[in-house]
């Protein structure tokens, strides 16, 4: 097992809300609040959540599309939050992104070749036009598209083909880490299957790590080795994917899994029963006190509204942020490992994994 390629600690991202003539700040969208996790160099890490969970923001902040408000992002030992323009430039070669909407992630006015060449030109790969053209042809081949596609424009391609181009663009710089932000959500199920298989194959062949962001739980179940569930900017549960789905501990995770429409009897069997789907997702500007899920939670008690629970490892490798779940299990565990506490870091007991 390789070591972690990415370590995120206490990541916070707030977006200011401005109003009035002088653009005064009137509030904040607390998109991401104290998120910590790590990803090893050859794993697919799943990040699931609904709107307002902050999962997309996490992905984009990792790549410095947004500047983090607080927190540390360590990529291969480098602190990404403190990078200058020069060092940021070299990060670009190692970490890339594939966006959700193939319609808007490719410039409609640029040929496929121009889009794919961009990375090569910016990082001075390839000696001349001919050279770059060959590399572009190879990239298209990697995503199972004929080289002739390079002369086409995005409007001539189907959604699945456009996503393949977006993947080829991400691969151009030979990154070791790719953020995939809902890469197949806009695609039909049969096209999605092909694109997912392609992504899996590439991940193994090129030994990359993926952060796979999605709201489709069945999909994440199939490809991610570990998964984190986010709600209103915080990780609520994190575990090996199989454990998360067969033994969900957080009430939100259970609600989420039970809401997924499934096609087979086996899946219906394994879904948690008696879950209510009532309630709305609260606003990230004015989040509820204590545990963000408490207004919708059937098991909520007084402490849930008063105190924000910590993310705790209650079973080895399985973390949950919930007073009820933690209390239920603490009787059975000997040591409780705190994840995002400063004391823990100071005493050097890194107990993730």
């Amino acid at each position: 097992m390789n070591g972690p390629i990415l370590i995120v600690e206490g990541l916070v991202k707030h977006f200011p809300l401005r109003a009035g003539l002088f653009h005064k700040q009137t509030g904040e969208v607390k998109a991401v609040e104290e998120v910590s996790f790590d990803i090893t160099a050859d794993e697919i890490f799943g990040l699931v959540g609904e709107s307002g969970s902050g999962k997309s923001t996490v992905g984009k902040t990792l790549l410095r599309i947004y500047k983090p408000t607080k927190g540390i992002i360590q990529f291969k030992g480098m602190d990404v939050t403190k990078l200058t323009r020069e060092t940021l430039h070299s990060l670009r070669k190692q970490a890339q992104i594939v966006f959700q909407d193939p319609k808007s992630s490719l410039n409609p006015r640029r040929s496929i070749r121009s889009t794919l060449e961009e990375s090569l030109i910016v990082h001075k790969i390839g000696k001349n036009g001919r050279d770059r053209q060959k590399i572009v042809a190879d990239l298209l081949g990697m995503v199972e598209l004929s080289p002739n596609y390079m002369y086409k424009y995005p409007s001539m391609l189907s959604g699945g083909q456009r996503q393949r181009v977006a993947i080829a663009r991400a691969l151009a710089l030979k990154p070791s880490f790719i953020v995939l932000d809902e890469p197949t959500s806009a695609l039909d199920v049969s096209v999605q299957a092909k694109v997912i298989r392609l992504l899996q194959r590439l991940q193994v062949e090129r030994q990359m790590a993926y952060l796979f962001i999605s709201h489709d739980l069945s999909l994440v179940r199939t490809i991610a080795s570990r998964t984190a569930v986010m709600y209103l900017g915080r990780i609520q549960e994190l575990a090996a994917t199989a454990d998360l789905f067969t033994n969900p501990l957080h009430p939100y995770t259970k609600t989420l899994i039970s809401a997924v429409p499934v096609v087979s009897a086996e899946e219906r069997q394994m879904k948690p029963k008696n879950q209510s789907h009532e309630g709305e997702i609260p606003s990230s500007i004015n989040p509820p006190s204590g545990c963000a899920f408490h207004p919708r939670c059937r098991l909520a008690e007084q402490v849930c509204a008063q105190e924000l629970p910590d993310l705790m490892e209650v079973i080895p490798g399985h973390f949950v942020r919930c007073h009820i779940a933690i209390d239920a299990l603490s009787a059975n565990t000997r040591e409780i490992h705190l994840v995002d506490s400063i004391q823990q870091k100071a005493s050097n007991k890194i107990t993730r994994r």
């Binding site: 709107s51 189907s158 049969s190 069945s218 809401a259 997924v260 429409p261 499934v262 096609v263 709305e280």
Partner: protein, 334 residues
């Protein structure tokens, strides 16, 4: 209960485009009985939107051409109706809700204004009613908002759409669709743009309305899980042809058409495991559609006859129909 509220028979729809004639629908047949929730499953480009537009009388002719087929809504052929007659049926006989609730409401008017507009519009032909009083409008509005389980209807009426969440907006749209008492609702991907938990609420609501109000729902989606959990019967559509139709439980347990099989195999499972390779090839170009069975270029079981003649609709058992040469036999049903 055996009355048909919608019967589409052998519908053909073509379009005139830059490249020639795009033969999108090539003989689509489908029916919905009273009080039923039926699914129409198909991927992008299969022609489900065109089919629905035909049912609602919303196809622009030209560039559309309808050379053959009938769409019988509650006994009347929609394709032969005048514009005025079509206007009358929208909202009162059949209503539609769409995929994206975020953009379907006008942001500069209150929800109440828009809801009242809908009520008034459909009632303008009722001469015996005269103009509806404010009280009457308010009553009807509150009743319907209640039916879609929106708390505090009075507040909703005075709100603007931007103040409402996606789930609430979708409920408002459903209310607007139902307020004039149609017995048939077409729901085009009602949950796709919503979060999983909210989408589940909306689907529950629709199923509830079918039970309590006895309306029929035609649910169009490419999400097979949704079809499985909410519909009684399902029609699978591919490239303008209906390839398989059966009761939902039957079809999902034992899909017969190679496309249905490929589709189901591609769905990722909550229980994990690899997903299949998908279906090779892509959706055809309708200006040069494959001859015979339109699926044959992508089918692993294709035989010579598949490219020569369009397969007839075969009944495998009562209620289970397949359009495929693998199963065609004597005594075809078309």
């Amino acid at each position: 209960m055996d009355q048909y509220i919608l019967e589409i028979r052998d519908l053909h729809v073509y379009f005139r485009v830059y490249e020639g004639i795009s033969r999108v629908l090539d003989g689509v047949s489908l029916d919905v009985r009273e009080g039923e929730q039926v699914g129409l499953a198909g991927e992008t480009g299969c022609g489900k939107t065109v089919t629905m537009k035909a049912v609602m009388g919303a196809l622009k002719i030209p560039p559309a051409i309808i050379p053959k087929g009938e769409v019988i809504l509650d006994g009347q052929n929609v394709l032969k109706m005048s514009a005025e007659q079509l206007h009358q049926l929208k909202g009162t006989k059949v209503s539609m809700i769409f995929q994206d609730p975020m953009n379907a409401l006008n942001p500069v008017f209150t929800v109440g204004t828009q809801l009242f507009d809908v009520i008034r519009f459909s009632n303008r032909h009722n001469s015996n009613q005269g103009k509806l009083s404010k009280k009457e409008l308010l009553n009807r509005a509150i009743t319907v908002l209640d039916e879609v389980r929106l708390p505090d209807p009075k507040r909703i009426l005075t709100s603007y759409s931007l103040e409402l969440s996606g789930g609430m907006r979708q409920r408002v749209l459903i209310a607007m669709a139902l307020v004039n008492g149609p017995r048939f609702l077409i729901a085009d991907e009602p949950q796709t743009a919503l979060d999983v938990t909210i989408g589940a609420q909306i689907l529950d609501l629709l199923s509830g309305l079918v039970k309590t109000m006895g309306i029929s729902v035609l649910l169009i989606t490419h999400n097979l899980g949704v079809i499985r959990e909410t519909t009684e019967r399902v029609n699978i559509m591919y490239a303008g042809q209906m390839v398989e139709a059966a009761s939902t439980a039957l079809l999902f347990e034992n899909p017969k058409h190679p496309y249905s099989q490929g589709l189901l195999a591609s769905v990722p499972r909550l229980t994990g495991g690899d997903i299949a390779e998908g279906i090779r090839g892509t959706v055809p170009d309708y200006t040069r559609a494959p001859s015979g069975c339109r699926f044959h270029p992508r089918c692993d079981h294709a035989m010579p006859i598949c490219s020569q003649k369009k397969p007839p609709l075969t009944m495998l058992k009562p209620g289970h129909y397949v359009r495929c040469w693998l199963y065609a036999k004597e005594g075809e049903v078309e």
